[in-house]
């Protein structure tokens, strides 16, 4: 019973991280029809920036603000100066470009920080444990999950209750029409791309103390995030929430119950969902 609760909470924590990474991915895909292969490297950069900032200042909360801000700049730059240039050539070229960007970021990370896994220390209240349902559970994992919920809620309010949100949802549905109504779509694309990088980087910062910060961390989450947006339906935020929860639990209990097949379980779930609904749980049927 206790093990069950622990693994359930582990699953929720991973689901939170996965949601932060995949929500940006799914929004960018829905709007720009670009599968951003560099998205997970933004997550990795977030973790490494946070490691460096912690070494310099020792303030975790500061790194939680500064690292995502840096990633906004990087994301917006990639969109403005690289992605926009190849937009006219079609989606395959855009996708290939993000591939190249991922390559460069991964190599730069190895260059600057080395290939050894780095440990991000966590201190203060977050380093403690709490008693919960008869088990002792690290506060930090609960923090990760609550922060993910908080950000998910903020995003939901921003997307569904504000003017900017209406414009973004409109652009996901029909970008040309939004442009025709006088919205500066290129700037919107740049902002959403940058914002996606912020979410991914933020996930990286909070993942740092939890998982190992290493050059392999981007690949580890990238495929999971892709599976999340396939299951949830591309461009759907609600789908990303549900699929993240499913994958998170599957990861946690898969490791517990079938250690040899835990990786395969995710793809089986994906295959099953696609057989029933080819465009994902919340995707629009074509």
């Amino acid at each position: 019973m206790n093990a069950f609760v622990v693994f359930f909470l582990h699953g929720l924590t991973y689901a939170g991280l996965l949601f932060l990474v995949s929500s940006g991915l799914t929004l960018v895909f829905g709007m720009m029809n670009v599968l951003n292969f560099a998205h997970a490297t933004f997550y990795m950069l977030g973790a490494y920036f946070s490691w460096s900032l912690l070494r310099m200042t020792g303030n975790f909360w500061l790194s939680l603000v500064v690292a995502p801000a840096l990633l906004f700049v990087i994301g917006a730059t990639v969109e403005r100066f690289l992605l926009r240039k190849v937009h006219v050539l079609g989606h395959v070229h855009e996708l290939l470009l993000t591939f190249g960007v991922a390559y460069i970021i991964t190599e730069s990370v190895k260059w600057i920080w080395g290939t050894r896994p780095l440990a991000v220390p966590i201190t203060g209240l977050l380093a403690q444990s709490v008693d919960l349902f008869g088990i002792t559970y690290p506060t930090y994992r609960l923090f990760v999950f609550s922060v993910s919920i908080l950000i998910g809620l903020i995003m939901a309010v921003a997307l569904f209750k504000t003017r900017v949100g209406i414009i973004i949802r409109g652009a996901v549905d029909d970008g040309d029409m939004v442009g025709a109504l006088g919205i500066n779509v290129p700037v919107l694309f740049m902002a959403v791309f940058g914002f996606g990088a912020v979410l991914s980087g933020f996930a990286g910062v909070i993942a740092g103390p939890l998982l190992t910060t290493s050059p392999g961390m981007a690949d580890a989450i990238l495929v999971d995030a892709f599976v999340v947006i396939v299951i949830g339906g591309m461009g759907s935020l609600g789908g990303a929430v549900l699929a993240s929860l499913m994958i998170g639990q599957l990861q946690a209990f898969g490791v517990l119950l079938f250690p040899k097949f835990s990786l395969a379980l995710i793809y089986m779930l994906m295959a099953a969902v696609l057989v029933v609904r080819p465009s994902g749980l919340f995707g629009r049927q074509s």
């Binding site: 599968l35 690289l82 996708l95 190249g100 390559y103 190599e107 465009s279």
Partner: protein
């Protein structure tokens, strides 16, 4: 057409004579180039001709490589051709099965699904240590080729180069002839206008499935030679990085043109060797070159060369015409 045929014969002759002038190191590099050219050609048939963007082509390549290594390690006295045929057959069969499952999807979903399948195979290669030895990889000894009247020992670099050249060279030539068959034309026409092909009574789904399985088989063949060439298979052969490699080769060379990936393989292998000699950070520069290529030379090197030729030809014609006073 006749000119083209002459070029082909010339190319084959040059490739046959190269080991006479080149050192063993370059012969070895050339073998690697032929293997990756085969891999690239199969990917180009899928992407350039069929317009199917796959991120999982390495699963067929790796499957071919692992089948080769496992078969050679477990079945004693296995014939060279039997191993290669087994690897190609396995990859083709898996291509059929996976294609059957995922070809209903198009575009980005299809790309993602192939990626997921590749990740699944990659996970299997890492986890199923009892057969793949996981991260340690599998080593193998190249079998001899017994042609009945003569036995060829393939352990020599130059001999293996000739074997690779003959078998993969024929496969590449066959792929080239495939593009001008009725089936090859159907694939190109489907790329251009699928609706119309359906109206004309073509079963586009079956054509696509055959193309997917065929390119899978060709990638498996390339993978088999990759395993034989290195006498070793590791998880690298079935990783996402291997898919990236074939994507790079195809795009640097130019997709949609048959010669593109062959040129791409040549440039990629030599560039990788050159860069890894001068810097440990060669993937960084590869990525940089890739981005520059995508932005400035989107059609790939073969298109660039073609354009330059056309430009020179046009200039040449222009100047001769002026000289004759016809303008």
């Amino acid at each position: 057409m006749k000119n083209r045929f002459m070029y082909q014969i010339l190319a084959v002759l040059v490739l046959l004579c190269l080991p006479l002038v080149l050192g063993r190191f370059h012969v070895s590099l050339l073998t690697e180039i032929i293997v990756f050219a085969m891999f690239g050609v199969s990917y180009n048939l899928l992407l350039g001709y069929g317009n199917l963007l796959s991120f999982g082509h390495a699963m067929f390549f790796g499957l071919g490589a692992y089948t080769t290594a496992v078969a050679l390690n477990h079945i004693a006295g296995l014939n060279f051709f039997a191993v290669v045929a087994l690897a190609t057959g396995t990859a083709t069969l898996v291509g059929f099965l996976i294609g059957f499952l995922i070809l209903r999807q198009k575009g980005a979903s299809f790309a993602l699904l192939t990626l997921a399948f590749n990740a699944l195979f990659n996970a299997m290669a890492i986890k199923f240590t009892f057969i793949t030895h996981g991260d340690d990889g599998l080593s193998l000894t190249r079998p001899e080729i017994n042609l009945g009247f003569v036995t060829i020992n393939t352990s020599d670099v130059v001999v293996f180069y000739f074997v690779t050249l003959v078998i993969l060279g024929s496969a590449i030539l066959l792929s080239w002839y495939f593009t001008s068959t009725a089936m090859g034309n159907t694939i190109v026409l489907m790329r251009e206008n699928e609706e119309r092909m359906k109206f004309l009574g073509y079963s586009t789904n079956i054509t696509r499935l055959i193309l997917f399985a065929l390119t899978g088989g060709l990638a498996g063949l390339a993978g088999s030679f990759y395993a034989l060439f290195f006498s070793f298979v590791s998880v690298d052969a079935i990783s996402i990085t291997m898919t990236t490699t074939v994507l790079l080769i195809t795009f640097v060379g130019g997709s949609g043109r048959f010669a593109g990936p062959i040129l791409g393989a040549f440039v990629y292998i030599y560039l990788q060797n050159f860069l890894s000699d001068i810097t440990d950070r060669w993937p960084f520069f590869m990525g940089l070159i890739f981005i520059v290529m995508v932005i400035f030379v989107p059609g790939g090197l073969s298109k660039l060369i073609e354009d330059v030729f056309r430009w020179v030809k046009a200039r040449w014609k222009g100047t001769t015409a002026e000289a004759e006073g016809e303008t």
